[in-house]
């Protein structure tokens, strides 16, 4: 009776248990020092820059670096300070258009790069400050919508400002060239060094990203960073604990805006043209996806998220990569769902059998088979062409398969366990059929479908993002 343990601290008692429940991989990863993880990323980036001359890959690298800057910036605003800023991408556009107007024939200005870039970056910071002023009064979703409006005002203003008529003037004034965009910008020219190769931008951006990483990491771990997070957690308490909430929020807003504006100037110099549709909601959405996938509030998460959102869509342009992703995901899903290896094998065999049965059935009812040349795309098609029966009217069959698959999955989710086992192989077969008949042939749409599915699945599996901590929120 004496060791009932009444009154001992419960969590202390469970400490060991919680430690033991961590997976070994996680522990191993936790043991690698921070600098080594980051270092390896920059080392790879460095080696790639040294070794590669592939213009396309370098361009993707530059896009990635710009995207990293954007997600770093947004991560400060959303991830650290918890301000849901849906107009963030306007700062990027502002930076780009600012640079464009001062470095092109549009207004006949050709300022030197070392003046334009700091000038525009500071101007973006001021803009960020001005926009944060009215935003101080607002919270949560109301702030989100107002920032969204700001973003839209920017887009609409740029679109409309190619045709400003004044009551006193006969002709109209064209400032931004509207939907025509501004082509023919000066590339960067730093004290005589002309950035005429994509690699110049690659190195420039690598240095910037490195510096930003170190700087943001330091800030986030110290006084200001802590204050940002307290504001995110509970602004009211933060204020009561002596944090000047308005100032700290403004600081986050301005810091994010500045980074975005800076990135914008580099983008404009690299691209040597700017068009407004590149600074609208779709990009905004992608940046959000990046930081949330990576784990909102985590610097590494912002980086990984940016990598996923930049590299994956590029990879998926190649049908075979898409196929690998699809089949590996399919196998993995079946593996996880079957729980036992033997059952997994049964599923696979069943799918194969269903394929042959389908073939026989189709031939029996006299459906004409499509010419293999018409539908085989990529290596999986080659592998499967003798097994998979593809009817002639592929599009129609594909559409039916699509709807059938969705219905099967819907049934699966509510079915009794026994029926689930029966349904699974059919789901698998329908998925493969759909993939080969319809999806792989239409890479671009498929690419979007995969990205969409990935966002949903990743969020369900890891709602806090890849590098995010489990969070609790009190509303």
């Amino acid at each position: 009776m004496s060791n009932l343990g009444i009154g001992t601290d419960e969590w202390v008692a469970q400490h060991e248990e919680r430690l033991a429940s961590q997976s070994p991989l996680k522990k191993l990863f936790a043991r690698i020092p921070l600098w080594a993880k980051w270092g390896s990323f920059f080392l790879i980036a460095f080696l790639f820059g040294m070794l590669s001359d592939n213009q396309y890959l370098l361009r993707v690298g530059v896009n990635l670096a710009l995207f990293i800057m954007l997600s770093y910036g947004l991560n400060i605003v959303v991830g650290y300070a918890g301000i849901l800023d849906l107009g963030y991408v306007a700062f990027y556009g502002f930076g780009a258009y600012g640079y464009a107007l001062l470095s092109s024939e549009q207004l006949g200005q050709h300022w030197p790069t070392y003046v334009t870039v700091p000038f525009i970056t500071i101007l973006t910071a001021i803009l960020g400050y001005l926009i944060s002023l009215p935003s101080r009064r607002l919270f949560g979703d109301y702030l989100a919508i107002v920032t969204l409006f700001f973003g839209q005002v920017f887009v609409q203003l740029v679109l409309a400002s190619d045709n400003i008529t004044f009551p006193w003037a006969d002709d109209y004034v064209d400032i931004t060239a509207g939907s025509n965009g501004i082509p023919g910008l000066d590339t960067f020219n730093l004290f005589g060094y002309i950035f005429d190769d994509i690699k110049d931008y690659y190195w420039l951006l690598m240095v910037i990203v490195l510096v930003l990483t170190v700087a943001i990491h330091r800030v986030s771990a110290t006084r200001i960073g802590r204050a940002w997070r307290t504001v995110r957690e509970d602004a009211l308490v933060s204020e009561v604990m002596g944090v000047s909430v308005k100032r700290v929020k403004t600081l986050a807003f301005v810091a994010g805006a500045t980074i975005a504006g800076f990135a914008g100037t580099i983008f404009a110099g690299m691209q040597t043209s700017v068009f407004i549709n590149g600074f609208d909601l779709p990009l905004m959405v992608m940046i959000y996806a990046a930081i949330i996938l990576g784990g909102s509030g985590s610097l590494a998460g912002a980086l990984i998220g940016a990598i996923i959102m930049t590299i994956l869509p590029e990879l998926l342009r190649v049908p075979n990569y898409g196929a690998i992703l699809f089949f590996v995901a399919l196998l993995l899903t079946f593996f996880v769902l079957s729980k036992k290896f033997s059952r997994f094998l049964i599923y696979v065999v069943s799918i194969i059998l269903i394929g042959f049965a389908f073939q026989l059935a189709m031939k029996a009812i006299g459906v004409t088979q499509a010419n293999a040349e018409d539908w085989v795309v990529g290596f999986t098609g080659d592998l499967l062409k003798n097994w998979l029966f593809v009817p002639e009217n592929r599009i129609l069959w594909g559409n039916f398969a699509f709807i059938l698959l969705l219905s099967l999955i819907a049934f699966f989710s509510i079915a009794k366990p026994i029926w689930k086992h029966v349904l699974l192989p059919f789901i698998g077969f329908t998925a493969i059929f759909l993939w080969e008949v319809r999806l792989i042939a239409d890479v671009s749409t498929t690419r979007q479908l995969i990205i969409g599915a990935m966002l949903v699945v990743l969020m369900i599996l890891r709602p806090q993002g890849l590098f995010g901590q489990t969070r609790v929120e009190i509303l």
Binding site: M1, S2, L4, G5, I6, G7, T8, E10, W11, A13, Q14, E17, R18, S21
Partner: protein, 236 residues
Amino acid sequence: MSESLLKMENVDTFYGSIHILQKVNLEVGVGELVCLLGGNACGKSTTLKTILGIVKPKAGTITFAGEDVTKVGTPGRVKLGMAVVPENRRLFAPMTVLENLKLGAYVRGEADPADLERVFELFPKLRDRQSQLAGTLSGGEQQMVAVGRALMSRPKLILMDEPSMGLAPKFVEQSFEMISNLHKSGVSMLVVEQNANMALAIADRGYVLQTGRVVLTGSAKELSGHEELRKAYLGR
């Protein structure tokens, strides 16, 4: 002990990988008032959630009113006759008192006027306030609405989660008086309390929970006299 109303047998509950309840056995008889005591994070509210079916146990069975309800969801259990007065009362503040009461009868479909009448008889104050927003009531009145709401589903068993928490001494007293009266009128109850002194004063029996295990059980009288419990929970 009389005929059993609620029975938990060897219940194990997990949050993720953390083992919260470990082989918990607990029983409430018809017409009994049982209290569940324990310190912070010992699993008291998890026990309550497990009984209500909000948390599903990994092992063990829960029987209620003669039926195995281990796999039954919360609505089903409420339909069978469980009702709860949650911690901090948890009224629907922006809704009227009447709406709150009607929600108590949710599982029965539309509320029965006779049930409403019974609640108003029990708490005449509420009758005048039925169209007032619940959030604007005083602490004691809120407690009445919470109990009234629980009664609306004609429960066989009322679960009370920390009825004294955050209340002024006077209201605490009223609260326990109310519990005691309800008990006397024949309702079975399970009361979860930090305030062991008061709980034991009105309960028939009690359980002490510690790190997810039932470490002590007995009649209220036995527990009040238990030396170690005294030292840990009852203060002086």
